[in-house]
Amino acid sequence: MAAPSPAPAAAMSGSRWTRFWNGCNRISAFIVFVWESALWLSAFIMLPLLIVGFIALLIAALFFWSPSWYYSVSARSEAVSLSLPAERETSWRIEGAIVCSTEPLPALAPAEGDDVPCGSRRWLAYRLPAGEEQVLVLGGASAPGSVIEVGFETRSERGLMVSIRGGGDDAGIGMLRLIDQGSDLPVRGQINLVWPDAVGSRNLVFPFIADRVRVGRDVTWSDSSLLREGRMEIFTASDESLSKRTRIEETELLPGDQIRLERYEGETPLQPKGFLRLDRAHAGEAPGTLTAVVFGRAERVKIERFGDSGYDFRPPWWAGISQNLWLVALSTLIAGLLGLLGGYAAIRDIHARSPNKAWAAFRRPCTDTDARASRRGRR
């Protein structure tokens, strides 16, 4: 049996490689075409479109899409005042207080003696039954729009005074719920609650949802109650952080500052909410201070400071941009695309000036010089 001739095999092999290379060239050419097209589209279509979109979003973020700003105030103050909506019930435990009322409260025992802090004759003083639970329920009346004004002011010996005023002289402001006796006393007119000192009393906490909250008081020469210290922060809603909010700005409050947070009248109205706490267990600080924690929504909050007309505490202008996820994503995309194109252009430029070409360029002047030198030698 004769050995097979290598020629047909080589021919067959050559045609296969030829076919392969021919095909490969087409494929590589096609890939290069696609790549070049993508580059062209990126550089001249996508990038301008992205930049136009970025500018449009930037304008929208600056002028039309304002994020929701939430303000959080944490302060120690000797004076706080609230405007509570009359249609909402607000309940506070008031054990240990002396109730000063302009209207009789027959179910309570009158308070008598020189130490009764109710003041002038128009006030009737009552002591709450000791060892029992009493809850003051403010509001809950069907009087939309009316408010109950409540003023808190600390006094010496860690005492506290609270003034509660309804819409009119004989308007109902709520009820006093005597839990142990199972009875409710309607409260009308005006009342003051006075905790003369901290003796035998518990810490006091007053949670609230209000129409208006004022922490601190204008500094005047005749009044010593003021805000001692505090901090105010601005947050915005965020899905990125675990707490679902991101802190944007923070400022310290100075003694004498006054902060007002009011009901936010937007598409979704939001009332300031928070609580006041008077820690009466620790003696030594006279008068005590109310710890006020308030949370509300606003475009800006004015800090009124002693000796000046106050300034607006608001997020910086760029905060709305930095918190816009679309804007951040678009700017990242533009930056990435610019980086990619810039990098590719740089690599191609480097490749165009390869070492071989550089060497050739380097060699070319030498050859000419040599030629000229040799010509001079021959002469």
């Binding site: 003034s163 005023r165 005006q190 208006r212 005047t220 009124e304 000046d308 007309s309």
Partner: protein
């Protein structure tokens, strides 16, 4: 011919109502300040004016219901904004023979009339006390913006200095509660009291402002208001 005479008479009376014949004269230089550093001191009574003469626009047509028998011909006009930013205090001299008449107070030297006009009804307090600004007085003229008819009520702006309740009483009437200013900054004043204009009374009205702080009485403040004669 009688129609013409009637028209002339009507025109003359309208002109007399629109512009009072007496105009007060500024004594010394005009003084006003508008500063970021607010004025935080002051007195309990910050403003006394007719209820229709409140707000910044009223200063451009300010009139004073001159007392029929004034002790002094000078008045001290003080304007103070509730936020404490604007403050002015100037002495004016009332013309001789103007007793019992309406006297216009020209407030045209101010360079801040535009800004003053932006102050609302409960944002600017005006008061005119008897005597020059170098002296203190508890006698107040009632300022008015249009004196064509007697005002319905007088508004007294009060700096309560931390009071929880403010009342006013006049004559033998019982005390009435004053209204707290709920919104905005309350540096210069934080209450206003609406006093009905007394009908058929004398030329003066004694008013007392009482204040309470959590039930405790604060010192009362007495003031005398000069009324327009014949009202």
């Amino acid at each position: 011919m009688p129609t013409l005479a009637l028209l002339t008479l009507l025109l003359a009376s309208t002109t007399a109502l629109a512009a009072p014949p007496h105009v007060a004269r500024l004594v010394g230089n005009f003084h006003e300040t508008e500063a970021v550093d607010v004025n935080v001191s002051g007195s309990v009574i910050v403003g006394v004016a007719s209820a229709s003469a409140v707000g910044g626009k009223a200063v451009q047509s300010l009139q004073l219901l001159h007392a029929p028998s004034p002790d002094k011909r000078q008045v001290c006009l003080t304007l103070q904004s509730r936020d404490g930013v604007y403050y002015s205090r100037n002495t004016f001299e009332l013309p001789a023979g103007s007793a019992g008449s309406v006297v216009r107070i020209p407030y045209d030297r101010s360079s801040r009339l535009d800004r003053l006009a932006r102050y609302g009804g409960d944002e600017l307090a005006m008061r005119a006390t008897a005597g020059s600004c170098e002296t203190s007085s508890n006698q107040y003229y009632v300022l008015e913006a249009a004196a064509a008819k007697p005002p319905e009520s007088i508004r007294v702006f009060v700096n309560s200095f931390g009071a929880t309740d403010v009342f006013h009483s006049s004559g033998r009437g019982k005390s009435s509660a004053c209204t707290p200013v709920g919104e905005g900054r309350r540096t210069a004043f934080d209450y206003w009291c609406e006093i009905p204009w007394p009908r058929g009374g004398g030329n003066k009205l004694a008013v007392e402002i009482q204040r309470e702080r959590f039930g405790r009485d604060m010192p009362p403040v007495s003031l005398t208001l000069f009324l327009k004669s014949g009202s």
